[in-house]
């Protein structure tokens, strides 16, 4: 049976926001550790808050994000340290004048006075690191610049906090050495060891989520580091999932516009240099020659083409669909080694279409109690390390589907429904379209759609086709029996 976790949490979220009035409790942060994993398009920020309740029965902890961070953050999840279950969060909405953003985290159980808890806030920022210098020639290295604020802000008093910025390679070009921090520390505020830069520890920071602190004490810091992989972004992704009960088939087709978001190519592309790099096994860090995607197991009829035809330079290794009885924890994948027609250099685009068929029974169940089908459609296929700027997922239901209901893993920017008419349809198929923005690798959830298909709708297409042929035959029958000849006597 499918578990509708996404919808449950969603329901819970809405319940929470409706019933729980905004009320802030008083806490103290005994320690805050922020760890930033520097990378390409996606930067993961894990902040651990060691909190102590300063009042009884504290139900919610408030987290503050600077407007900058909030703007970049596309994925946010709060947990109690060491636990799997995500905590429900509630956004206060935008407070643009203040320059910060407050988010309430519902605690699993109310904290008593002086009780402590470790809350882990995990966010993924998109487009946070930008290529610096902004253009590079083919043989140059790629360095990225990441900017953030020195202090983790919080509406509460903080005893000690530090920020660790970890670069994927030890080659860090430069980083900011903050000044005027005598109030918080006596050591050197920034130290580099290996690939990690540590800011802090800073002691005794007043409640920092206020305008005064932000304007006077807060400082920007930046790190410029070498990055050895291409910075990928999907400018737009259009996914269409078409459900067919007659063919017991789920067709998924992605139209992807891929862009190398690394430094713009300075000068021109030289095949000679490219081939020399490949020959000496020293590929340019910002050139993307190929990428491999994990597609679902048990797919068939995979196709990969672009506007001018099939792309012959790709390989697919299909894994068989896992048996239903076996609930293996390690999911199996078909691996598609996808090579664009040309290597993608900085700033270059490549659009292509990727699609496949899979058995509908792998992703649909029939609930005999409600008489509904429930179909699971993944929001996207992950492209490792890439951000999807704009995604449009269309689920095309069978012709004549009624009582359509859906649940989303996280709210969409917009949701609309339409009718799609294709293969011998008479009335058209209902379709649901969901628009998302800035999806990250953590957004690999599934959309669940449930609907009823009456028997008459199932039979609509065969009936229509049969009627059409019948009509054709009858017309022929009549036509053969009419004699249009001017001289009937001759032919008779």
């Amino acid at each position: 049976m499918l578990r509708l976790t996404g919808s449950l949490s969603l329901v819970f979220l809405t319940l929470l926001s409706s019933t729980h009035a905004h009320h802030s409790y008083s806490f103290e942060n005994t320690a805050i550790v922020r760890q930033v994993e520097l990378a390409g398009s996606l930067v993961q920020v894990v902040t651990t808050y060691a909190v102590k309740a300063l009042e009884k029965n504290a139900k919610a902890y408030t987290i503050a994000l600077s407007s900058n961070d909030k703007e970049k953050t596309s994925w946010l999840e709060a947990k109690v340290k060491g636990q799997q279950q995500a905590l429900p969060v509630r956004d206060h909405g935008k407070e643009p004048t203040n320059g910060y953003h407050l988010i309430d985290v519902e605690l699993p159980k109310p904290l008593g006075l002086n009780e402590t808890l470790n809350i882990v806030l995990e966010t993924i920022q998109t487009h946070a690191a930008k290529p610096w210098p902004a253009s590079a020639s083919q043989n140059d290295e790629q360095s990225l610049l990441f900017k953030t604020d020195l202090f983790v802000i919080s509406p509460y008093q903080t005893l000690v906090q530090r920020s660790k910025l970890r670069s994927p390679t030890p080659r860090i070009v430069e980083f900011t050495e903050p000044k005027d921090l005598e109030a918080f520390t006596l050591d050197t505020p920034a130290t580099k060891s290996g690939a990690t830069i540590t800011y802090g520890p800073f002691n005794n920071i007043p409640p920092s989520a206020d305008e005064d602190f932000l304007s006077k004490t807060q400082q920007p810091i930046s790190v410029q580091y070498m990055y050895d992989h291409p910075v990928l972004e999907v400018s737009s992704l259009k996914r269409a999932a078409e459900i067919s009960h007659w063919g017991s088939n789920l067709n998924i087709q992605d139209e992807i516009r891929l862009r190398n978001g690394g430094p713009e190519l300075k000068g021109h592309f030289s095949r000679l240099d490219h081939q020399a790099q490949a020959f000496y096994k020293r590929p340019s860090p910002h050139v993307l020659p190929a990428l491999s995607l994990h597609l679902p197991a048990g797919i068939r009829n995979t196709y990969f083409y672009d506007i001018i035809g099939n792309v012959s330079t790709s390989h697919l290794r299909v894994a068989p669909a896992p048996p239903k009885s076996l609930k293996s924890r390690t999911p199996q994948y078909s691996v598609l080694d996808l090579r664009p027609r040309y290597p993608l250099l900085g700033g270059w685009n490549y659009t292509f279409t990727l699609g496949w068929d899979s058995d509908l029974s792998d992703s649909a169940v029939y609930d005999s109690k409600s008489g509904k089908y429930i179909v699971k459609v993944p929001v996207m296929t992950l492209i490792p390390g890439a951000v999807v700027n704009q995604a449009e997922v269309t689920v095309i239901l069978p012709e004549g589907a009624t009582d359509v209901d859906f649940s989303l893993p996280w709210p969409a920017v917009s949701t609309s429904s339409s009718t799609v008419t294709t293969y011998l349809d008479t009335t058209g198929r209902p379709a649901l379209t969901f628009v998302y923005e800035r999806l990250t690798t953590r957004h690999d959830g599934d959309i669940y759609v449930s609907y009823k298909v009456p028997l008459s709708a199932h039979l609509k297409k065969p009936t229509a086709v049969a009627t059409a042929f019948m009509g054709l035959f009858v017309l022929t029958l009549i036509g053969r029996r009419i004699n249009l000849s001017l001289h009937p006597s001759k032919t008779a």
């Binding site: 030289s270 095949r271 040309y342 270059w348 293969y423």
Partner: protein
Amino acid sequence: MSTAYPLPSGLSQATVTNTASLIRIVTLALISGAAIASRLFAVINFESIIHEFDPWFNFRATKVLASQGFYEFWNWFDPTAWYPLGRVVGGTIYPGLMATSGVIYNILHALNLPVDIRNICVLLAPGFSALTAWATYMFTKELKDESAGLLAAAFIGIAPGYISRSVAGSYDNEAIAIFLLMFTFYCWIKALKQGSAFFGMLAGVFYFYMVAAWGGYAFITNMIPLHALILILMGRFTSRLYVGYSSWYAIGTLASMQVPFVGFQPVKTSEHMAALGVFGLLQIIAFAQLVRSHLSSKQFQNLLFVAVIGTGILGSLAIVGLTYKGWIAPWTGRFYSLWDTGYAKKYIPIIASVSEHQPTAWPSFFMDLQLLMFLFPAGVFLCFKQLRDEHVFVIIYAVVGSYFAGVMVRLMLTLTPVVCVSAAVALSTLLDTYIDPVEPLVPEEATPSASGDDSTTTSASGSKKAKKPAGPTESTTAQSTPKPRSRPGIFGLDTRLVVIFNAFGMLSFFVFHCTWVTSNAYSSPSVVLASANPDGSQHIIDDFREAYYWLRQNTPETSVVMSWWDYGYQIAGMADRPTLVDNNTWNNTHIATVGKAMSSTEEVAYPILRKHDVDYVLVIFGGLIGYSGDDINKFLWMVRIAQGVWPDEIQEPNYFTPHGEYRVDDQASTTMKNSLMYKMSYYRFAELFGGGQAMDRVRNQAMPKQGPTLDYLDEAFTSENWIVRIFQVKKEDLLGRDLKSANAFSQGKKRKRSKPTARRRAIV
């Protein structure tokens, strides 16, 4: 009467006819299936892709038609072609092909069958080849009988001569034109035989379709009048001829003038005069016959004498006068090149530079027609034996078609149908003779001659009509009754089997040959090249699409791409960028300009490039992997065409070594080495080999270590196997220097004081 093998008895006439007709339908369906299937090699070995050069334009035009509707298409002005001139597409194409695909597309979409327009275009030619097989069946049936028709259908279905132009993806005018050709001829024969205005009109309508579809319609325009004229000269003028011809000509010509590209040509150009002349002649003859039926023979002879001389003189004077005044256009160059194969090379190098306009080599006759080539003369001979009106047609067609096929490779296509028809007649006669179970009667000599003669003549004059009234007597031995004449026959089963097995052996070899030729020679899209990996698996060389797609995705939409005209349509279709010249070679000067830019030095070419807003220059270079159809091999044509316009600046001999060799290595002439084409092709090529000896694998010449340098262009993109190289034209130097000295400065070279300053001014 003895038979060589037992025949089933007790079958009713109806059973035999029904079974025969069922077998015919099934056979025709299978032939259609085979015709379609054998053309799908290209899709199976490669993919559903548009082939070669011209089809890319047709495909692009069809997309416009399908997406924007017919009126937009009709008024389509394409500003991206022939930059900066543009092209009025609607008025300069034969829209039949696009209209056909558009209609199919719209019908399918009206039925909610969302078939991609590309797949319709790719599969149009195979689909129409099935129709061609059917039309050939109908045509041959008129000539001999159904069995010959089936053979002809099978032949045309798989003959490589036709497949070469109709494989899946070969989306060109010929794809539908051969069907139209055969069907028009069928309607004409039918109209002639029955004197039917209906079939004459059908011939006219299909002639119109043909005019709308292919420039080769002139073949019909001259074949039918020629046939009519010869029939008149043979003294076979009948009212059937008059009715058939007049209805075809009147309707066909009026309809054909509705095609904008044709316009008033049917009454103004020399190619169409024959049809008009014969039309007039028929009227005169018909009038003369009318007059004769009212006059005595003496008076009539006098009248005829005066009238013939009078009209003859008047007619010739009129035609000469009209031609002189320019109302009737004289013959075009393309037409002259049909009579003098050396003509094009001398006067119109553009026409001569197209490989399919070369005279046909002997082996290609065998390759395209194999067995049919030998059966063809036998079939023509058999036509002479019967020599009804339609046989005269086939004989004329055979003679004319053979001549044209010898002159131009591409006209092999028009020969193929008549070869198939004649070969089918010959082979079916052979099989008729040897399968026929009746053994000749030894003792009696001439007794059954009267009845035998009678039945042959009836079946000859109209096999279809003759059969029906013949009644049940013919039921089981329908074929046998006409035979017991005093002609020789065959005894025994063994002789029959030897010949029949031999015939079937040849036929099966023919099938194998056709399949082999189709899969190996004619199914390559030429956009995609195939080679083999070391382990034997297929390796696709996809350089063209790689480079075109790069252009499409990573250059501004308005960048103008200059390349040799061969690639114009492909660039427009796949890269969607404006081009200077393309395969619609209507403007010789423009092409010569490109030729001049390619064959001049950088300094001379640069102002030309800048004046034409060229952003990118694209060259095809096969030297790395041995792709012989590259631009260096075509280079001499560029030189020749440029020389035709600028004989003072470009001279072909300068591109050869003093020994008259065409070389690209150390010994290449200075002009060659300094030409833009040479520089672009070999730019940094030697470096690819590290320290080793650089080899051009197409020309098998060792390249000099020091390759050419470029000052006015930058290498922008080179495809994986170096087949396509794209260069960006530099903008003028910001400091007003000429680019050569700017380049030298940036490389740290000392500027030569002796450089004349005048050059700076030369660059605008």
